[in-house]
Amino acid sequence: MSGAGQDRRHRSPPDLGGRRAVILHRPNPTVEALTRQLTAIGLEVAACWPELPATALAADYVFFDADMGHDDQFLWLPGAAPMPLIALIGSEAPGRVAWAMKQGACGQILKPVGDGGVYSALLIAREVFDERAALSAQIADLERRLGARQTVVQAVALLGLHEHGEEHAYNRLRQLAMVWRVPIEDAAHRIVAHGRDPADDSAPPRHRRR
């Protein structure tokens, strides 16, 4: 008897019905097999070669040929695709695999494509793409907050660091951030732009920004 092996955290599969898939591959049985599998799952499929049409920007998934592909075929810079990319790999040469990864492939299917592989590639690519996007957003946020360190120091100085001490000034900053419902860094930015504690607005400014 076992309840193990089943992940208790439950995650639903992505909604795939009516999603658009574009296949960037010269017409051949690989395209037919991919189209058959994608249509059976419920996606709308368009194939193109040798370039992606502008309409591909609205695609939910792009399958691309890793054997004959090159950077100029895409509508975006390598690694900046706005949707999950899935590499169609025939030649498993390291140069071609590296090129496919540089494009930002979130999954791969080996050629020749037969009776399966597409559904799991769609699930894996969606998950990888979403996780990458979440990580990128998290990193951008952390970088922004890291860059705001100097602003926080300035704001703490404006809020009475010298008169009342560091703890008091920092608590005042946190309090304002809470009232304004913004991150500490954003509150610091406002205070620095304002030039003083807003509570002191009746008093003459302590510090004027140039």
Partner: protein, 370 residues
């Protein structure tokens, strides 16, 4: 009298093992259909069955399927019962250019170009079942199943449906196929008191579980079928004799139940109808194959997708190789299944990808019982 082409077809049904009752029903349906085809003057072929018996042993399916395809002229094989065995034979079909007609309910997430699926997939069994149960018994459920893909995937879809309904899964357990140690499953259900139980156990595990649930209900009316029904998508008439009175009140979903002739019933049933959907789906597989082969010289050597590219394939969706099915919900009453709700013509959606894009599917036919 026109000359009839003789065409061999493979039958791959286990005569013994944990799910023998189901595979024997399928075999019976296939053989009845062969008989009907061979007696049908409108058809110009005679089917000759070639049988192999994998004895419920998953490792025998692939070699026996290969043997049929290699040593006989059969290109079409009807059979396999578990998803596990179906997935085992697909590589053999690919190598030999054969096709499988699969006559059992399964968990979906497959649309092989080597397989025709003539029973129901989850949007045709589990979803009508949940449309029936959620408004009546709420969305607090226990899930039990056999420890392989059928049990796991049915429970996973149930998790999705229960989460959408803001419900909760109160307990969840799996037993190896053939295991009958159900005490822990029953203890957890007794302790958590769900509104219903989804039972995706197969064979003897399921029989023992249902017997224990019946005893639990006898001790505590909170577990009677009226208050905490046990639901299944794989229980049919072909297993009722193994259950006896323990089956009373059990609810099952499927495309057909014996004697049902109400709204959305399967058409073209033979005299006497089908004893179960397991028998009927195998019968319909052979009948559909015969229609596709009849009056088309050499059609037996066509690849499956070429064979299906014909008007006679009506009823088999060319994109998914599944069939449109009615979604019936039935309850065992006085030893036989009575249909309590029917949804007509549910188009197959084996990946449950189209579900969210359709208006919520409500049963539009209700069977009224006095």
């Amino acid at each position: 009298m026109m000359a009839r082409r003789v065409i061999e077809i493979g039958l791959l049904f286990s005569q013994s093992g944990a799910y023998a009752r189901i595979s024997q029903a399928g075999r019976r349906g296939a053989l009845r259909a062969v008989e009907a085809v061979n007696a049908d003057p409108a058809i110009d072929i005679t089917l000759r069955p070639v049988e192999r018996d994998p004895q419920g042993n998953v490792d025998l399916y692939r070699p026996l399927c290969t043997e049929i395809l290699r040593s006989t002229s059969a290109r079409h094989v009807v059979g396999t019962t578990t998803s596990w065995s179906r997935k085992e034979v697909i590589p053999a079909l690919e190598r030999a250019g054969g096709a499988l007609w699969y006559p059992c309910p399964y968990e979906g997430y497959e649309a092989s170009d080597r397989v025709v699926y003539t029973h129901a997939c989850p949007n045709q069994h589990l979803i009508p079942l949940f449309n029936w149960v959620l408004p009546r018994h709420g969305a607090r459920a226990s899930l039990v199943g056999s420890n392989y893909i059928w049990g796991w995937e049915m429970s996973r879809i149930a998790h999705d449906l229960i989460a959408e309904a803001d419900g909760a899964v109160l307990s969840e357990r799996y037993l190896p196929i053939g295991d009958t140690d159900v005490n822990r499953l029953i203890d957890e259900i007794a302790a958590t008191r769900p509104g219903f139980v989804l039972n995706s156990l197969i064979g003897p595990s399921s029989y023992r579980f249902l017997a224990a649930m019946a005893r639990l209900a006898a001790d505590d009316p909170a577990f009677s079928p009226e208050r905490c029904p046990v639901l299944s998508c794989n229980l049919t008439e072909c297993e009722l004799d193994a259950l006896g009175p323990a089956a009373e009140g059990v609810i099952s979903a499927g495309p057909h139940f014996a004697g049902y002739s109400g709204p959305a019933a399967w058409t073209e049933q033979p005299p006497g109808g089908f004893d179960s959907s397991m028998e009927g789906a195998a019968f319909r597989a052979v009948r559909a194959l015969a229609r596709l082969l009849s009056h088309r010289p050499d059609a037996e050597s066509l690849e499956l997708n070429e064979l299906l590219a014909s008007d006679a394939a009506a009823g088999i969706d060319p994109a998914t190789h599944h069939m449109c099915q009615p979604g019936l919900v039935a309850q065992v009453r006085r030893g036989r299944f009575e249909v309590i709700e029917a949804t007509a013509d549910i188009a197959p959606d084996p990946y449950l990808a189209r579900r969210h894009r359709q208006s919520p599917s409500r049963p539009h036919l209700t069977v009224v019982r006095p």
